[in-house]
Amino acid sequence: MGATAHHEDNDFLFKYIFSTDHKMIAKQFFLTGSLMGLIGMVMSMIFRLQLGYPGESFAFLEPILGSWAPEGILAPDKYLALVTIHGTIMVFFLLTAGLSGTFSNLLIPLQIGARDMASGFMNMLSYWFFFISSCVMIASLFVEGGPAAGGWTIYPPLSALPQAMPGSGMGMTLWITSMSLFIVSSLIGSLNYIVTVFNLRTKGMTMTRLPLTIWAFLITAVLGVLSFPVLFSAVLLLLFDRSFGTSFYLSDIYISGGALEVAGGSPILYEHLFWFLGHPEVYIILLPALGITSEVVATNSRKPIFGYRAMIGSILAIAFISFLVWGHHMFVTGMNPFLGAVFTFTTLLVAIPSAVKVFNYLTTLWKGNIRFTPAMLFAIGLVSTFITGGLTGIILGDSALDINVHDTYFVVGHFHIVMGLSGTFGMISGIYHWFPKMFGRMLDKNLGYLHFWATIVAAYGVFFPMHFLGLAGVPRRYYANTEFPMFNEMYDINELITVFAMIAGFAQLFFIFNVFYSMFKGPKAPQNPWESTTLEWTAPVKHLHGNWPGELPVVHRWPYDYSKPGMEEDFIPQTVPLREGEEESH
């Protein structure tokens, strides 16, 4: 590969566009995913305006949104469209492809000591499928009737019948097309990650010497490979129902003045298929974020991660249980109550490995020597959001309690904190930590501090009050809370949430500025800026095709030898052989 690689390096097209180098592909995923995330965030700011100030006219919306916001007031079906695409983008494009795509690509070869992914070509394909998928999703915003608007879960029959709402026409077809391409991208990428971790570890890099990031990325990829095909089958059958007159999900329907010739199908089947992906998806988002946190917390506490094996065990336990809990999204669908009982049991089991992870993070901080880099702040923030959001999961996972909070703002608050905030905090933490590895320059620290404090305060300001709305019975996906006297009196809570949402949105400008400014003008990165033990910091700052000049590094110890007693330095890289009499204890 040496000769061709050299040739490719000199060619702009192959270096920046059709690159097969994992580091370049990671950057491509980062920029595309973040851009999608930015679009998703702006969408949420627009629909938050409507929720905070229902019916009020915002003149600036009309030039931006055109017919979506006549007279500056967002139309009801376009509100639902924004909510739907916001959810889709955040869950899949930012926190699945953006998060895994960036860090699995960047870190797997570098941290296991490989020259590149097992298949550079498949890796490139993975990115380009993702890119086309993103383009199709964005294109769906501009078709007649608008984009898909049935919620990110696109339950049929609403999503199956173009008569049911404007967004269920061309927009939904494009949604399904986009997601199919996305699933192809995810599968190609995940298979590559799994094969790479199993086959290309450098000499001495046993499975129990892998950094927890790699464990998290590996198990995430396994989850993706096992669950995304099920989503694919779900949307494929939906496509059949929409286009070829089948009735997988449809039965006994009367709409737009006529009964349809559909019989024998069930929307519940779709829900089962969807959530069979949908729940593991939560962990496809969370595990990489938690893996990044493990790495960042250990490095910046100058202390080994506490309970390395327990951390691996809890990743495996969470991954396994996550396949057995999908029914907790369906307690009130009319599913057999006995099934509901089983899913309650399995769901609350997830809390145990999650609790183990939290206690291990706390113990890692205990008697550490903590450096407050921006990455560390976001990692601490993640532990806080993971606790806050995780605990309300105990309420939602309990079927008897779920009856009354199901599909209310309580759920919106819960999953935005535990999955949305934890996922984005993990991703942002990773960017601050590995930016020098990605771009060879350092991000600005003080802008990072501003970014973190503005973000965490505003984010809790947005999502914590939502629990109160939910306990007052306010349903999610309502265009306005003006039609019920009991909800109308919540206007000030909604206003407060909207104000915080604006602050949280604008606070991201500190980050965006920082990333683009530092990419070109930041101080040059040293080899190992955070005095870290893992292999990626032994590779030269300037990116090489093949990662290391000459021989690959050889690994002699686990990745968390920070502040080991009897040693001069407070960190010992994995490449340093054990000294005489030194034990590799962990």
């Binding site: 006994d252 009130v332 009319g334 008897a400 300001g461 019975g473 309502y478 809570i493 400008l509 500025f513």
Partner: protein
């Protein structure tokens, strides 16, 4: 337009601040006063912000509890709802201390163990005892919660039997309204199918079914007797809807192609609830809680819980299906679309006569 200018101003303002900060940092870096690695002063400052944030966070939660606590749903208006609320209280009692303690530990440790170049972190990599401890404790607590929760779930979902003294109601959902159907004197709902929906027969009730003749259906509001089991059946004609009655802690999806069910026993009349909440305008609501289209946010019905006496009186005032159909028959002779209904109504009249 001014909005747009303000928006632009904010964006440019933040970018300007960012620019200033980064330039100052560049100058400081050049002088060797700034580095990507936080120095002693910066570490101390960030460490101090940790407990400050913790206090602000807790104060924010406390403020919300005080300011909005009385806006939560009032006490449950159904028998099982009171038990569910009790389970909710117990769950809060379990999770609140965990939330508070873990957050105190998190931010306390972060503050206490801020970087000091003269100190070395304690090398403490694992302890099986601790891992077992914090696996076992959550497992035990969760097991108790699960068992209690499941016994309640079991009670809620065990169907009423034929012997139970109960009333039955069918809630019918479509874009974007609700209809409630009562089975009438005979206690049996007439068969219905979407293929029979025509004109005013918007539930698709089969008028050839003898059970259908005395069925009654109402819109906008429906009545329930207090202290009597109510068996609900849910149907939907177009897309999935969800019948959510928050005051009764009741929710069930309405799914096209199948009938779902839920039951509860209301134990507070609307009048009693007005007193409890101190709100003269208080009403129980049925609302749609599954996204169903553009007017989803306005799909509702009022529920009146009254004494059994008042309930019977109200119900007797409602028209029977047959009567509704007949009145349409006489009012719309010219309307050709009504032909099929008329024949059907004719048939069912014969049947009910035979009956």
């Amino acid at each position: 337009m001014t909005d747009l200018l303000i928006l632009l101003g904010v964006v440019l303002g933040i970018i300007a601040i960012s620019k200033v900060v980064s330039v100052l940092d560049m100058v400081a870096t050049a002088k060797g006063e700034n580095s990507y690695m936080p120095n002693a002063r910066e570490n101390r400052f960030q460490a101090r912000l940790m407990p400050v944030f913790l206090i602000v966070y807790f104060a924010f939660i406390a403020w919300q509890l005080v300011a909005w606590g009385d806006r939560m749903l009032p006490v449950a208006a159904s028998e099982h709802g009171e038990i569910v609320d009790n389970l909710m209280d117990i769950t809060w009692i379990v999770i609140t201390p965990v939330f508070v303690i873990t957050h105190i530990l998190l931010f306390y440790f972060a503050w206490k163990y801020a970087y000091d170049k003269n100190r070395k972190a304690t090398y403490f990599s694992h302890s099986n005892k601790l891992e077992i401890l914090w696996t076992a404790i959550p497992a035990t607590v969760l097991l108790v919660l699960i068992l209690y929760g499941l016994s309640i779930w079991n009670d809620i979902t065990t169907p009423l039997t034929a012997e139970d003294d109960k009333i039955e109601i069918e809630l019918y959902a479509r874009q974007f309204d609700w209809t409630a159907r009562y089975p009438g004197e005979d206690g049996k709902f007439g068969e219905a199918s979407v293929r029979l929906i025509e004109g005013v027969n918007m539930l698709g009730i089969d008028s050839t079914d003898v059970n259908a003749a005395d069925d009654k259906y109402v819109k906008a509001e429906f009545y329930l007797p207090v202290n009597k089991d109510v068996q609900f059946y849910f149907r939907a004609q177009d897309v999935i809807h969800s019948a959510y009655m928050p005051h009764f802690r009741a929710q069930m999806n309405c799914v096209p192609g199948m009938t779902t069910r839920f039951q509860f026993k209301p134990n507070k009349t609307t009048a009693e609830m007005k007193e409890i909440t101190g709100d003269e305008d208080f009403e129980y609501y049925l609302l749609c809680n599954k996204i169903c289209g553009a007017a989803h946010y306005n799909m509702k019905m009022e529920i009146k819980v009254v004494s059994e006496e008042d309930y019977n009186k109200w119900l007797s005032e409602q028209k029977e299906f047959l009567a509704v159909e007949e009145s349409i028959e006489t009012n719309s002779e010219e309307s050709p679309q009504m032909d099929t209904i008329q024949t059907k109504v004719g048939e069912s009249t014969q049947l009910s006569v035979l009956n």
